[in-house]
């Protein structure tokens, strides 16, 4: 039973991470600060998030100045960010900890170019500021980022993607 619950928790967390990746995709399309951060990333860099170490990651790819959600979960990302435990994943996905706090508390496993880690954490700060309600965001982030577009626009873009209007790019097309 415990094994089943763990499995269910992993699947649930990965689903949320899929939504987070849709969020990164949406925010990077509209937010100039994120776009500026992305200018330092090599073209076609794939960044993946996994709820557990051996899980299949949800990925985004940097292309033409923005991140795009990647459809398939079987690719090997250039940068893989994974949680060391499912509880650590819950804490971030439920807005108890920010990604930066998880990083500072050694709750994450990071494979890939660490020179991009500062920029990634700043991007995630901004993504969190769009995805989470303000009362959570205030608690999570020490400095409140100034949002450049409305949260509704980001929510709308994420929801339309989830409904299938934006299916993401397939790895073969990259």
């Amino acid at each position: 039973m415990k094994k089943l619950l763990y499995k269910a928790g992993t699947v649930f967390s990965q689903l949320i991470l899929d939504i987070v990746c849709q969020g990164i995709d949406a925010v990077s399309k509209y937010d100039r600060v994120v776009q500026r951060e992305l200018s330092g990333f090599p073209e076609n860099t794939i960044m993946g998030f996994s709820a557990v170490m051996d899980g299949k990651p949800s990925c985004v790819i940097k292309k033409n100045g923005a991140f795009h959600k990647v459809k398939d979960h079987t690719i090997q990302p250039d940068i893989l960010i994974s949680f060391k435990s499912l509880k650590a994943a819950y804490a971030v996905l439920l807005g108890i900890d920010s990604v930066k706090t998880a990083y500072l508390n050694y709750r994450l496993y990071y494979k890939g170019d660490l020179m991009l880690s500062a920029a990634i954490l700043r991007i995630m700060d901004r993504v969190e500021s769009y995805l989470f309600p303000d009362f959570i965001m205030k608690r999570l982030l020490s400095m409140k980022p100034v949002r450049q577009v409305s949260k509704i626009l980001i929510y709308g873009t994420v929801i339309s993607s989830l409904l299938g209007f934006n299916k993401g790019v397939s790895y073969e097309n990259t």
Binding site: N105, K111, L114, A119, L121
Partner: protein, 394 residues
């Protein structure tokens, strides 16, 4: 002090500290099950008397069959690490001895990752906390008292083709044995001793107030500060003073333990950037930036900087200084140490001393904000924050 909500801490596995510590290397190799080590070093170290003595002791102790690579250049290029890994495998070595400064030790860490994981490219093993399994036995002999690489889980190597730095953070690369022998640092010139010593001091101070600081790293950092501050001037005035050399080596090791876990902060973020843009010695830029960053961080670090005064100046000065003035006095103490080191060794105090001017600020700021060390500074690094520090350090 406040206990962090959650932390991890890893210290070095084994330290041998003292006169003739180098003579214990054959014993350590035997205990680790090594029969044929590869020794990696650079062209300068391999000519030093202590190194020759170390090779002799290996030869007479049943390790005459060792392999040697003595051409590691500065900045540890990945190509060299990959080349050494091939040499290691073809010579059927089963352990590594690295003798040198930070570049040599970091290069050896990369070699160990390659030969232990079977990877052929350093790029494929970069990351943080990501390497499973155990690595090969690895003995580190530092020849400077500064980088702390002999204690850390961090390795930075360069890719000269892509013109990037590759950073690896994993406890697996911490040397199996660190050998702190004063003879290994005795020929270090005064200026290099001051510069690398200030680097070690910066490691300890930044680790003390880093966002990843924890109770264990604080103990290491404070002891490191006491040892470095108490001995650095004497080592420069009396370079053959074995006791002070050893104390400084221990200080550097402990500072390495502290920052290996707590990481560093703004001084290193801006210092790495200035080093890349202006090609200045790492310890020199640390000495220029440390007081300015400490001042700028005071908004978040007043309490711990106040405590620092005790370790810098002793109980008498600490108790006679009003509580609200202790933090400023601690920074003043650092500035005074730097002033004295400038007189006896030529350590730089300002950016102008390093021939860095305002025209280079923009590039330095851009690089500093992307440096990994910026993540753990207690005050968020912004363009304005970095600019202010650079301006005040001119």
């Amino acid at each position: 002090m406040k206990i962090p909500e959650f932390y991890e801490h890893t210290t070095g596995k084994r330290v041998i500290s003292g006169v003739d510590a180098l003579s214990h290397i054959p014993y350590e190799l035997k205990m680790a099950g090594v029969t044929k080590p590869i020794i990696v070093t650079d062209v300068i170290v391999c000519k030093l008397p202590f190194f020759k003595k170390m090779l002799e002791s290996l030869k007479v102790s049943g390790f005459a069959d060792f392999d040697l690579f003595d051409q590691i250049p500065a900045d540890s290029p990945v190509t060299i690490a990959e080349q050494i890994a091939i040499q290691y495998t073809s010579a059927e070595c089963d352990g590594i001895i690295a003798v040198g400064g930070g570049s040599v030790l970091d290069c050896a860490k990369s070699v160990n990752l390659l030969v232990s994981t079977g990877a052929t490219k350093v790029e494929s093993v970069m990351g943080m906390d990501h390497i499973p399994g155990n690595l090969k036995p690895f003995i580190a002999v530092p020849t400077t008292s500064g980088t702390g690489s002999e204690a850390t889980k961090v390795a930075v190597v360069s890719d000269p083709i892509k013109k990037i730095k590759i950073e690896i953070i994993t406890e697996k690369i911490i040397p199996t044995v660190s050998v702190l022998d004063p003879e290994a640092t005795i020929s270090l010139p005064a200026k290099v001793t001051a510069s690398t010593g200030f680097d070690a001091l910066t490691h300890a101070i930044e680790a003390l107030y880093s966002l990843q600081s924890n109770p264990l790293s604080r103990v290491e950092a404070l002891t490191a500060i006491e040892l470095i501050v108490g001995n650095i001037e004497n080592v420069i005035k009396n370079p053959k003073d074995i006791y002070s050399r050893l104390a400084l080596a221990n200080g550097s090791y402990l500072a390495g333990c502290a920052f290996s876990n707590a990481m560093v902060g703004g001084v290193h973020a801006i210092g790495h950037a200035a080093g890349a843009v202006c090609h200045v010695a790492h310890g020199d830029i640390m000495s220029v930036l440390l007081p300015a960053v400490m001042k700028a961080n005071l908004i978040a670090t007043k309490e711990i900087t106040s405590e620092l005064l005790y370790w810098l100046e002793g109980a008498e000065v600490f108790s006679s200084t009003p509580v609200e003035k202790r933090a400023e006095k601690a920074i003043e103490s650092i500035i005074n140490i730097r002033k004295r080191l400038k007189v006896i060794s030529g350590l730089p105090e300002t950016l102008s001393d390093l021939k860095i001017d305002r025209s280079q600020f923009e590039e330095i700021i851009n690089k500093a904000l992307d440096d990994g060390a910026s993540i753990t500074n207690p005050v968020s690094l912004t363009r304005e924050f970095v600019f202010k520090i650079l301006e005040s350090s001119l």
